[in-house]
């Protein structure tokens, strides 16, 4: 369990920073509405938003764990290795290019959701955001093949990413997050290299 928490922590840090960089500009107006004053009116939409994300993560974690349990017999080291390589490629591309053009799910959906003013749905959608570190988290849970593991993994993942979003919401300080985003991208590159080596080690006997 502890290992799961650590990996989730790392991935959460990597993706959390990135999500922030991409989504903060759209998130901020949603969160810091025009004349919201005081802590509670600030916190309420954030809580709704977080609930949405938590739900999405729990579903993803449980489903990935469950599917992994079913797929366990066919997961040969060779296939796991190959999927690691694919993940590595995704992570590297994402880290070095700073996201993909046309992969900006949250940016696409943002105007719509902003008009709806429904933080819960916004969180839910962002929770399903399929950026590579998130995929890596899914793959890890899948390969472990336990529902409980998946839930625990994504719980930590959720907590870590929330940690990054909270100060943003409370303080509304956007500028800082551009450098955090760069840290997140480089972390993705390093984790990508890690997956590359892990994949190669599985493929080369």
């Amino acid at each position: 369990m502890l290992a799961a928490a650590g990996k989730a922590l790392l991935l959460g840090l990597a993706t959390g920073l990135f999500c922030l960089g991409t989504c903060a500009p759209v998130l901020a107006p949603l969160m810091l509405g025009e004349e919201r004053k005081g802590l509670w009116p600030l916190l309420l939409p954030f809580l709704q938003f977080s609930l949405g994300r938590l739900l999405a993560y729990a579903v993803v974690g449980a489903v990935a764990g469950w599917a992994g349990a079913g797929a366990a017999p066919v997961l040969t080291p060779r296939r796991v290795g190959a999927s690691f390589l694919a993940l590595a490629a995704l992570m590297l591309l994402y880290g070095l290019k700073g996201g993909f053009p046309g992969w900006r799910l949250c940016r696409l959906a943002a105007p719509l959701l902003a008009r709806l003013r429904a933080p819960f749905w916004f969180g839910l959608l962002l929770g399903f955001n399929a950026c590579p570190p998130f995929l890596a988290a899914m793959a890890d849970v899948f390969l472990h093949g336990h529902v409980a593991y998946g839930l625990a993994f994504f719980l930590v993942f959720f907590l870590v990413t929330t940690l990054f979003l909270l100060p943003l919401v409370l303080l509304g300080r956007l500028s800082r997050y551009l450098s955090l985003r760069a840290v997140g991208q480089w972390a993705a590159v390093i984790v990508g290299v890690f997956y590359l080596l892990a994949g190669l080690r599985l493929l080369i006997p």
Partner: protein, 396 residues
Amino acid sequence: MPRTLICGHSRSASIFLTTVLFFMMAFLLVGGNRNNAGMMQASLVYLVFMTVLAYLLFRSGRVHRYRSIFFSVYAIAFVLNFIPILLETRGHIALTGRDIANLDTPLCHLTIPMLILPGLVYGVLIFPTKLFANMGFYPMLFLWLGATVVLGKGWCSWGCFYGGLDEFFSKLLPKRIVSSRKFNYSLRWFPFALLLVIVVWSFLALDPVYCGWLCPFKAVTEFVQPTNWLIWVQTGIFVVLFLGLVVVLPLLMKRRTQCGLFCPFGAFQSFVGLANPYRVRIDKEKCNQCGACVDQCPTFAITRETLAKNKVSITCARCGRCMEICPRDAIQFSLLGVPLRGHDARKPGFLSEVFRPDSLFTFGALLFGAVISGGMAAQVLLRFVHLARTGSFLFR
């Protein structure tokens, strides 16, 4: 390049600062070697060297130039001393399984961020070193804590025995070969990402992974004896990283690429160093955004974006370069909570010159640097004498 405006101290203030520093250094450098005549003489030589540097530094105000000489000498002395010590005490440089099992590996500060989490959770030291040995865990931890309070991130320009190596190579060539006009400054966040990864990974693997896989300084200190292909790969990585980041890139770019773009401890120190009250600040009244400092900062801490906000990044290593080349004297060492006055706008007078934030910072940093490097420098001096007399660099 426009005429530079560097703010040194008046002669009387320089003499005063240097004299006080001299006595404090003498007390610590020579006083510690009372029982060893050879070390005492060698320390005296080093003391004179540091005193001369300090006077030149205070008088001319060229913090970077004179610090750079000290810092390079320090790092080279470290390497020249470290390897012979290993040979004298262990008989070989490369680490063997036996040395590891005996906990005979000296610890360096780079491991500290990786040791904290496992230490807290499992109560165990995951690096094969002794708790109380000379270069063991607690002495190093204590030294680092002290340095963090006294120097903060300034450790990376005044205290770290590796930093001087890439500083040395970044100074060797007179002209830059690779310009950094198109440099991607987001690379300066890479050390933070690396820090994040190695801290989590070391905790999971209970193994200081950075030491095993990535540390460029293995190439000049010690490394695991290659007994299988995996260790050969690791050794290859060290050598490539060292040559690339510490030698070739600094030569070409005239920047400290290892410290600015790789070292995860530097990233760590950027955070914990905030405990120290000194900062490098840019005076927005004076700065005209010429960008000279962006081009020169050895650790890539000033970019066009940070400059526009009159800020330096938290990665600033307090090296003094920017203030030396700023044509408008807009950048200074400053104390938190004390407004920037500018060197020329200060009240004239002896006391106000001695009590300038930059004087106080450089004074402390010089003292710390001199003492921490003193033993090594003196020993290397003795080794050279020994070499001349007996033809051997080793004492035994």
